[in-house]
Symmetry: C2
Subunit: 360 residues, 2 copies
Amino acid sequence: MRVGILGGGQLGWMTILEGRKLGFEFLVLDKNPNSPASRIADRWFPPEKVEEFRELCDVITAEFEHVEEEVLEKVSEKMRPRAELILMKRSRVEEKKTLFRLGYPLPRFVWGTGSELKEMVNLIGPPVVVKRDSMGYDGKGQWRVSSVKEVKGLGEDEKFVVEEFVDFEAEVSVIGVRDMWGNIRTFPLTENHHSDGILLHNRTRTTPEVEREAVELVKSLMEDLKVVGLLAVELFLTRNGKLLINEVAPRPHNTGHYTLDGTETSQFENLLRAVCGLPLGSTRLKTPAGMVNILGLDLEDFSPEEILKIEGAKLYWYGKEKRPRRKMGHVNVVGRSEEEVSVKIKKVLSLLYPKETKKS
Amino acid sequence: MRVGILGGGQLGWMTILEGRKLGFEFLVLDKNPNSPASRIADRWFPPEKVEEFRELCDVITAEFEHVEEEVLEKVSEKMRPRAELILMKRSRVEEKKTLFRLGYPLPRFVWGTGSELKEMVNLIGPPVVVKRDSMGYDGKGQWRVSSVKEVKGLGEDEKFVVEEFVDFEAEVSVIGVRDMWGNIRTFPLTENHHSDGILLHNRTRTTPEVEREAVELVKSLMEDLKVVGLLAVELFLTRNGKLLINEVAPRPHNTGHYTLDGTETSQFENLLRAVCGLPLGSTRLKTPAGMVNILGLDLEDFSPEEILKIEGAKLYWYGKEKRPRRKMGHVNVVGRSEEEVSVKIKKVLSLLYPKETKKS
């Protein structure tokens, strides 16, 4: 099987690492031949060569939604999941409208242009979260706004979403995988902790009732969207026990990196099984697990040795150029219990971010 | 870290897959640019270019002991484990003599040339096992002999080992890993089942007393041999409960493939941690696990889909050219209990080898 991947980031990199086991070949389309996935692919293609790329692939998937629209169009026939799902994810307005139309629980929201921002903020009522329509990921293009006065300097004609600020008890996520015959599996629920809009760490959490509700929601949404591949759903668990969808992503998700060490099949392998028409793998948790992102740090900025000394800690290093707050790698941890995993996550955090963790 | 691997087989292939996670680069030296590890390495070198290979590597390890002696000599300074250990493993006589000298329990054995074979067989007393001194792996170059009459046609000047045939209760193995400071970890014991001298399947087995004794033996042997890296020790558990060493191997071992899915750190990652001077990883078993080898079958000769339908089954496909009884890939299985793993192993065997399994 020859699999094409749009995007050369770490999600593609891990997809290749997992897919190699099955003997698959991988072609990566990305501007950068030195991106993590481009480097380990069997072949790399720049966007100009999309036609050649398409002809060689048996199936094409995406690890990144912000690919050029004309590239998506040219490969759409071989795309799994459907190109429309990737397009939906490119626009926060489209994502919200789709979920709202289908009747899923969301924080209250409105959308409009920059010139209507003040009106929108007043309509929802501060505190609100203002989000740019496009190129939004890892906390980019979003701001918490407590007063109308703070809203200024944003493009008048640009599109925005304004949504209520949810004072949640926890952020959780469930990742589902669906094959072309409609079979669905879901991965164990995780509790996620963000820092300035970027996932910092997460771990599996046994909360049967919340999980049951979240799993039903994810299954139903995968059916509605006819996803073939993965769908990651980030949810707010509100203080009165309600689940609201924060974001969805039709691709491997940062909150599912723990599956490489925690579940019988990883999210990456199950993506490949789904899009290649193979039976889905078991998503049973082998042992409690969690993850810590390595943000904006190079190998010289922390001690990999100290991290690897932690029992059950596994380092994943993407080999990217350092930039502030960029996802450079992650550490998976496993343990005998959720408490043990939590203790190890704290230890990893204190080794990676000694200043920040001392403060708290 | 830039790691060189002597040999391009599946053991090197899995070492690279695991080492990619740590961000390492891999150079492979092998005659064949299309061997499993050569194909996914950052660079491939033929044996003629051993000097260039050596210069570029930070450290060099071996996934195969039958490399040319002059190659071994040229890279010996950067070798971990020591080239002497690889040399020892190339000769069954050397291996036996070394273990005997150090006082480890072995089946009774003698060694000599082809012209002395009958005498040796009579000395040990049939049934015996006759083994060629060199190029012995996967049951190659060894024969069970029940009568002196069967011994004929072997090279008069060639060296052989003749050892007593052990009527064992079980074949087991323990793999250990030792770093350059002498820290040692051992992986969980497995029970192994061979077919005509080739490992067919194995699984983890909880037998605390046997395991304790085997672990002590492996630790002591790693100390004696000053191994930096892995040491796999295959043992006979005799019907009166004694452990005798059958074979040792200073490299990743087929009976440790289950660690990719069963333990917190795999044998391949721990090899890399050891030879690169990183802390050894936890070898705790996350969940009972086992493995079945795919021998002499191509993807058309069985149904990968049926294999992947088994809950907790993972396919590893090496991408080699088919030859009779050649190791083409393997299936790892995990489950909630050892019984569940056993049932899944039987299922995999029946799918891969329907004729053979019907007979039994």
